[in-house]
């Protein structure tokens, strides 16, 4: 005995158990010890077929005493005399708790647990086992989500689920992210509905990704129908983490990262720029001497790389603390987090900070009556820098500003000022332009983006209280009937404050009172507004869940009532004498003129009744039916109610007796569904004709449409789920057809009715048809564990019909017409470059005195009439991606873990407006190096026209600007090491320390010339570039 005791001490190590994670750390045997009051229990664990199972976790519940079975399925464990039970658990099997009752040999048979394999999925107002789901529901792997290390849930969702496309429209900290489920169904708002702990909301940004316990995406009508009225774009159901009946745990995690802008275009340097504009002047055919030739070699020229100057390294950090625990009666979880990001633009006026606090408490007041609350507070402050488009479009100005201008003025320059050292008007001397005060004829009027970055002061803060309180009571003898009432509050306070500081050079303009001031933000001013938005949701459900013999029946009936009220108030004043931070308040602006104050409010309400039922026979045949009736205040009285039914059915073939012999087949299910969902995401009073009082005028601001009604999406879905080898391999494939009718669309009336806002009309029908495939391959039994998850989706979007009064709807660069995708690009088709005059004359044979010159863009003459006019326009691109995919690879070995995530989009076009204004504009802006290949003479090129200050065809909307925006990106790589095996840690009470390093947006493969192929704008105007980041972090669990 003594000898063994010493051996034991030499070999003693502790077993650490992670209750939630399925990946188990290193484990060691715990040899029997001599201690009094201990006993040794041994045994073997087998499965239903008598085959032994290795690596089964055997432990004494409530303690940290445990072991695992060896390769032959045998175990041996030393337990205290007062131990009551032994728990046996293994992935994919039902956990068994065996009372010891004095036995020293306990053999156990573990049964396959279909529940664990396919999880309990939250669907509708209840949860269902995935095995009996007939709708298209995809649970999200929350562990993979956690590894993404992003500030926002939406970003984390990217590429995780088939059919879900997540795109960030700009990379700016705090800017919105779009989620599309199965394509763009409507012309208005396509964002799905998020239901967080039973409270529906349209916002997701405030949620801390680490707070999420489970997430499921309801994609088809059957799954989503229970949310009918607002679910036509799909529903994402999120349940936040709650406490468990367990020993209390405390976990702290922290990461810090750095970011840099990537994928920036190469702009011309000063020499190249001067050569290009010199050529452009020559090609314009102006008489006289070329001013640029004379300017070459000027000593006051700089060689500024504006993009370089504008971007710097950004930082981010995140700290999260969670404490949870519970008893049989009460469970709690409290978490708090702080996220902070300083973006990649200089002078740090692009920041985002968010504080989160969450408390989640559940209590069983009696064994039938349960109450609970989830309460979240979040406060986010965004320092916003204009991230897209024209005004003030900091990024755009960085692309356009000529390199010959310097960032700062020379200290010796008489116009230099301490508080505004930046250049503004090119080569500025004084404020009389006609006497040579500055040189905007030659070098344009761009703003200095560094100055803009410095002077911008635009802060938007958002305080949110989101939470719910529920009570649940179980009736009947077997508690199969439960009544639940849930009240949710979503209260938001917004505060935006934007101070426009006056800066720049004096151009001699402005009204008399402002003479002498710089031209930017003249006069200075402050605009501030505060808003509040309160939504109260109250739902009541009655849920019946009973299994008897082979029949399992669930039924649900309920009601929901949502009321929203929002209001805002704002003011602005101009002409601030003092502009320091302490004076940036409304009181300190001038009261003489240019004052403004305003405020308004808005409200809407929804009332719904719904019912749902699922019947499963013998775990093989299942059917679900849902019906929801909704009334919305956004429609006129006669059209308020909408009805949304759905049905689905499934056949679990793998449960059939004739299939049982194939043990390698763990799951095979066919499912089919059909249903209708609704949409009412339009302005609150859209059906009314409205008159607005504007100053002293009463003007019709919009014509109404009293027949306005719900938009309906009808979805058909056919799918198959296949699982092999105890679901180690799992495949889910779906074919879907989503048809949206009565699309709510704002239609611009012809201008002869006056200047009115568009009227919302039920106009048209759009279909999205596609195919989704999700494949998972995993192995968590050996020492090297891996998990491969791939998904791919194809979607084809088509406009089926439009309102009878409108055969087509024309936008700036798009056209909506039946038979083509939604918002397809429309314009002229590029056909090469004219090489000489003979070519022009013969090609444009139908035009009197054609003004085109050699080197100009040649457009396709579609009707061959020898003229290029509006009849030669056609469809030139499709902004709706037809393919998107994601690939997640993760693995772990001996404490190391690695996760790699790829994501991409294929077959998509984008209108690159920034290309138009940079390389194809008639003004002397800077160009990218692509322009160095421009046409130079006959035969020099057939793809880039001559540079010129006159129109070379670039003013026409054409396929030159429509680019293939498909890309493949390595989005995330994370490598971590977990110290859980070291016993020293457990001595100080630490269960685990994990260190990790992660990189995001590592590389992108794309042909797109814009800043970021991920941009979702129809016209990409030069968005904020995406950044590559590297993070280091640590997770501590106590």
């Amino acid at each position: 005995m003594e000898i063994t005791f010493k051996k034991l001490f030499a070999m003693k190590k502790k077993l650490i158990i992670k209750l939630k994670k399925l990946l188990v750390g290193m484990t060691f045997l715990l040899l029997p010890s001599l201690a009094f009051g201990q006993m040794t229990i041994t045994g073997t664990v087998v499965d239903a077929d008598g085959i032994t199972i290795p690596s089964v976790t055997v432990m004494v519940p409530g303690t940290s005493i445990g072991t695992i079975t060896d390769l032959s399925g045998n175990y041996s464990i030393e337990v205290p005399a007062n131990a009551e039970n032994l728990r046996f658990s293994f992935v994919g099997y039902k956990t068994v708790v065996e009372p010891i009752q004095g036995r020293t040999k306990i053999d156990v048979t573990l049964l396959l647990d279909t529940e664990l394999i396919d999880e309990v999925v939250v669907v509708g107002y209840s949860s269902q086992k995935k095995s009996t789901l007939t709708g298209a529901v995809s649970p999200v792997n929350v562990d993979d989500l956690d590894k993404r290390r992003v500030s926002e849930v939406a970003k984390a969702l990217q590429g995780q689920v088939a059919g879900v496309q997540v795109t960030q429209s700009t990379g700016a900290p705090g800017d919105e992210i779009d989620i599309r489920i199965r394509g763009e169904g409507t012309i208005g708002n396509n964002n799905p509905l998020y239901v967080i702990d039973g409270v529906p909301t349209r916002e997701l940004a405030f949620l801390n990704p680490s707070d999420i316990e489970s997430m499921s995406v309801l994609k088809d009508a059957s799954a989503a129908a229970i949310y009918g009225s607002r679910a036509s774009a799909g529903v994402i159901i999120i349940t936040t983490k709650s406490g468990q009946k367990d020993k209390p745990t405390l976990s702290i995690s922290y990461y810090r990262g750095i970011q840099n802008a990537i994928n920036l275009p190469t702009m011309l340097n000063s020499e190249q720029y001067m050569n290009t504009v010199e050529k452009a002047w020559d090609n314009a055919g102006y008489g006289g001497t070329n001013p640029y030739t004379a300017d070459k070699g000027r000593t006051d020229f700089a060689n500024t790389n504006w993009l370089d100057e504008l971007f710097e390294t950004g930082f981010s950090q995140n700290i999260q603390v969670t404490a949870s625990g519970g008893t049989e009666k009460v469970q709690y979880l409290i978490s708090t987090a702080y996220y902070d990001q300083d973006g990649i633009v200089v002078y740090s006026n692009d920041k985002y900070k968010r504080y989160n606090f969450r408390a989640n408490i559940n209590a069983n007041l009696t064994n039938r009556f349960r109450v609970g609350t989830n309460l979240q507070l979040s406060y986010a402050v965004q320092d916003k820098l204009s991230s897209k488009g024209d005004a003030p479009g900091i990024i755009r100005h960085a692309l356009l500003r000529p390199p010959v201008l310097s960032v700062y003025k020379d200290k010796d320059d008489p116009t230099y000022r301490e508080n505004d050292p930046f250049t503004d008007l090119p080569f500025y001397k004084h404020n009389n332009r006609d006497e040579g005060g500055w040189e905007s004829d030659k070098y344009e009027w761009t703003q200095n983006p560094i100055a803009l970055a410095y002077f911008t002061d635009d802060v938007r803060s958002h305080f949110k209280t989101f939470g719910n309180f529920f009570g649940e009571y179980a009736f009947l003898h077997d508690k199969s009937l439960t009544f639940r009432t849930n009240v949710g509050i979503d209260l938001n306070f917004y505060h935006n404050k934007n101070f426009y500081q006056n800066f720049g050079d004096d151009d001699g303009g402005g009204s008399d009172i402002d003479k002498g001031k710089g031209r930017q933000n003249r006069p200075s001013g402050l605009s501030e507004d505060r808003g509040e938005d309160l939504t109260v949701t109250w739902n009541n459900t009655l849920n019946f869940d009973k299994t008897f013999d082979k029949h399992a029946l669930t039924a649900l009936v309920g009601s929901e009532f949502i009321n929203n009220f929002s209001s805002s108030i704002g003011a602005s004043r101009s002409r601030y004498d003092y502009t320091g931070k302490t004076f940036r308040y409304i009181d300190f602006g001038s009261t003489e003129q240019d004052l403004w104050n305003g405020g308004s409010g808005s409200e809407w309400a929804l009332l719904s009744f719904f019912a749902s039922s699922t019947y499963v026979y013998d775990n093989k045949y299942m059917a679900t039916a849902n019906l929801r009736a909704d009334a919305s205040s956004r429609f006129a009285d006669n059209n308020q109610w909408g009805y949304f039914p759905s049905i689905s059915a499934g056949w679990k073939i793998s449960e059939e007796s004739f299939m049982k012999k194939y043990n390698w087949l763990s799951d095979l299910k066919l499912r089919v569904s059909y249903g209708k969902l609704g949409n009412q995401e339009i302005d609150n009073y859209a059906y009314l004709t409205l008159i607005q009082k504007e100053g002293d005028k009463y003007l019709i601001s919009r014509y109404g449409n009293p027949d306005l009604k719900w938009e309906t999406t009808t979805q058909y879905n056919v799918g198959v789920d296949l699982g092999l080898m105890r679901n180690r391999f799992y495949l889910s494939a779906d074919y879907f057809q989503k048809i949206t009718t009565d699309i709510l669309l704002p239609i611009s009336l012809p201008s002869f009715v006056g200047d009115v806002q568009p009227t919302i009309v039920n106009a048209g029908e759009v279909s999205n048809k596609g195919f989704e495939l999700g494949v998972t391959l995993r192995n968590s039994e050996k020492a090297f564990k891996y998990n491969i998850n791939a998904n791919i989706t194809t979607v084809k979007n088509n406009v089926e019909k439009l309102h009878p009064n409108l055969p087509r709807i024309t936008g700036n660069v798009t056209r909506i017409e039946p038979g083509h995708p939604l918002n397809a690009y429309y314009g002229y088709e590029f056909d090469g470059i004219y090489q000489n005059m003979e070519e022009i004359k013969s090609y444009l044979h139908g035009t009197i005195n054609p003004t085109a010159l050699p080197g100009d863009i040649k457009f396709k003459d579609l009707n061959n009439d020898g003229k290029i006019d509006d009849n030669d326009r056609t469809f030139i691109g499709n902004p709706n991606p037809e393919l998107y995919y994601g690939l997640n690879l993760s693995g772990s070995y001996k404490g190391f873990d690695l996760a790699v995530f790829f994501q991409g989009i294929g077959k998509v076009d984008r209108y690159n407006d920034s290309k138009k204004i940079v390389d194809y504009d008639t003004r002397p802006f800077n160009y990218t190096t692509d322009i160095l290949d421009s046409w130079d003479g006959e035969g020099s090129t057939n793809s880039t026209p001559r540079v010129s200050f006159t129109d070379n065809g670039s003013s026409k909307i054409s396929s030159i600007f429509v680019e293939d925006a498909s890309y493949f990106r390595l989005k995330n790589v994370e490598l971590g090491y977990s110290f859980s095996k070291f016993k020293e840690l457990s001595n100080i009470g630490i269960k685990d320390i994990r260190l990790f390093v992660s990189a995001q947006n590592v590389f992108t493969i794309t042909n797109y010339k814009g800043l970021d192929p991920e941009s979702t704008d129809l016209m990409d105007m030069g968005t904020y570039p995406l950044s590559r980041s590297i993070l280091f972090g640590i997770n501590l669990t106590f």
Binding site: A284, A605, N705, S955
Partner: protein, 493 residues
């Protein structure tokens, strides 16, 4: 158990009751036409007429916000009438900015050029506002609820009729057949029903009728309102009647109307040419009959935004225009001061102030007495009364040579000699008339319509690329698209 069931029932009932009423939400702060009609005030009716003037101004961004490509930044008259007439060029120094304006210098525009959309939007928004105003003022119900003085009501109605006629005049001379709307729309579907082009003869008739109605409603004074001198006056109505007759070649009517206006005794040629335009003489001179009153520092803006464009280098004379002036003609420097690059007529000053000011106080002159005299001269010419015609031309020249030049001196003797009264050569007199109109009314947006009216456009502008199809501008492509094709395009486009 029982109490639990009771509670449950109560809860359910409570949940479902009272909820339906929450579903009817009255719009906060936004008025429906019913509310406005239910509760009209004199102020609101007054304001509906006032707002109808706004589309005539040069204020920036009345529609949209910096919509350069849509042509809605400001009223495009200077492009459609002045650049297209060969008098003006876009900028002093050619460049690539706003290339769509250059298309009017060489007639290379197509229907999607923003200028057409711009003027169409402005004019029709004006029509829409006047229709609303006329609708109120002719509605028995609304008027009986109000306590409005008949004189005030008549005056307001007269103003609205005039303005509607004025907007339609612009539309029919630019585009030909245009949709004719005479009352506000009730629903959006009606928009598609009325999306048809009406024959221009019908539009001219409507213009004449509106002017006739206006004439009877306005008071017999020089200004309709002493406190607001910018309002439409009877003189303006008669002047427009003369103009309508002129454009329809009803020469005798032209003479009759102009004479009627002269009888009123309110108007004569100012002693000094620049008094018409000077900011200091607004509403304190005798020649201007109808102008838009720009005022600075008002909220919302009603300043002259064209001055800002001048500050950015826009609005320059073509060499041809400058050369057409006779030696020492003081009107050249008053119209445009080439050395200092000041378009004095528009700036309203002689020293370049207001240049670059987007809120300038200088007024936009639409109709002035000199213009009328030249119409009368043209009518006489067509009627065969050559001497009467030449007399009027000489009156204009006389005033010009007796105006103090911009540098303070009088033009030397021999400047602008009288035309030969005894001439009977119609072509020669026509040439004098065309020349006189060009130099007297330069940059006032009359020349293009004149050249078209005289059928001289091809002769004078053919060298720049003018073709016969350009007698009418194309209907904006956007309108054709938005109407679903029921509005058709002009020939040749």
């Amino acid at each position: 158990m029982k109490t639990t069931y009771k509670l449950f029932l109560l809860l359910t009932l409570f949940a479902f009751s009272n909820c339906e009423s929450y579903l009817s939400k009255d719009p906060i702060g936004l008025l429906t036409p019913e509310q406005v009609n239910l509760d009209p005030t004199v102020t609101s009716v007054n304001y509906s007429v006032n707002s109808s003037y706004q589309l005539l101004s040069n204020t920036l961004n009345i529609i949209g916000e910096w919509g350069w490509d849509d042509g809605t930044v400001l009223r495009n008259d200077f492009v459609l009438h002045d650049i297209a007439s060969g008098d003006m060029q876009k900028k002093w120094n050619p460049d690539g900015d706003q290339a769509w304006m250059d298309e009017f210098s060489n007639y290379s525009f197509i229907a999607s050029n923003g200028a057409f959309n711009g003027i169409w939007s402005y004019d029709y928004e004006g029509v829409s506002r006047t229709n609303t105003a006329i609708d109120y003022l002719t509605d028995e119900d609304v008027m009986s609820k109000l306590n409005i003085e008949p004189a005030l009501k008549n005056r307001l109605l007269g103003e609205a009729y005039f303005l509607r006629a004025f907007y339609y005049f612009d539309l029919v001379t630019l585009f030909g057949d245009v949709p004719l709307l005479l009352k506000p729309l009730v629903s959006f579907e009606e928009a598609y029903e009325v999306a048809q082009r009406t024959d221009k003869a019908t539009v001219w008739d409507q213009i004449s009728n509106d002017l006739k109605s206006a004439k009877s409603l306005l008071p017999n004074t020089k200004y309709s309102s002493d406190s607001e001198k910018w309002r439409v006056s009877k003189g303006a109505v008669i002047a427009m009647q003369a103009k309508v007759a002129l454009y329809n070649k009803q020469w005798q009517e032209v003479v009759t109307f102009v004479s009627e206006l002269e009888q009123l005794g309110f108007y004569k040629l100012n002693d000094n040419y620049f008094d018409n335009f000077s900011v200091t003489k607004e509403f304190a001179e005798d020649e201007v009959i109808f102008a838009y009153d720009h005022q600075e520092a008002k909220t919302p803006n009603r300043g002259n935004g064209l001055c800002a464009l001048i500050g950015w280098g826009f609005v320059a004379p073509r060499d041809n225009f400058v050369e057409s002036f006779e030696t020492n003609d003081p009107r050249l420097k008053y119209t445009v001061d080439v050395e200092n690059k000041n378009v004095n007529k528009i700036l309203g000053t002689l020293d370049g102030s207001n240049k670059g000011n987007d809120d300038a106080p200088s007024n936009r002159i639409f109709i002035r007495f000199a213009d009328l005299l030249l119409w009368k001269a043209e009518a006489y010419l067509e009627l065969g009364s050559f001497d009467k015609s030449i007399l009027l031309i000489n009156e204009i020249r006389n005033r010009a040579r007796n105006s103090i030049s911009i540098d303070g001196s009088m033009p030397p003797t021999g400047t602008l000699p009288d035309r030969n009264l005894t001439s009977t050569n119609k072509t020669e007199i026509m040439d004098w008339l065309m020349h006189e109109r060009r130099v007297e009314l330069g940059f006032e947006s009359h020349r293009f319509n004149d050249l078209k009216r005289w059928k001289k456009a091809e002769e004078v502008l053919g060298g720049y690329g003018f073709q016969s199809k350009h007698y009418l501008y194309p209907i904006p492509q956007g309108e054709i698209d938005k109407s679903g094709g029921t509005i058709t395009q002009n020939e040749g486009y």
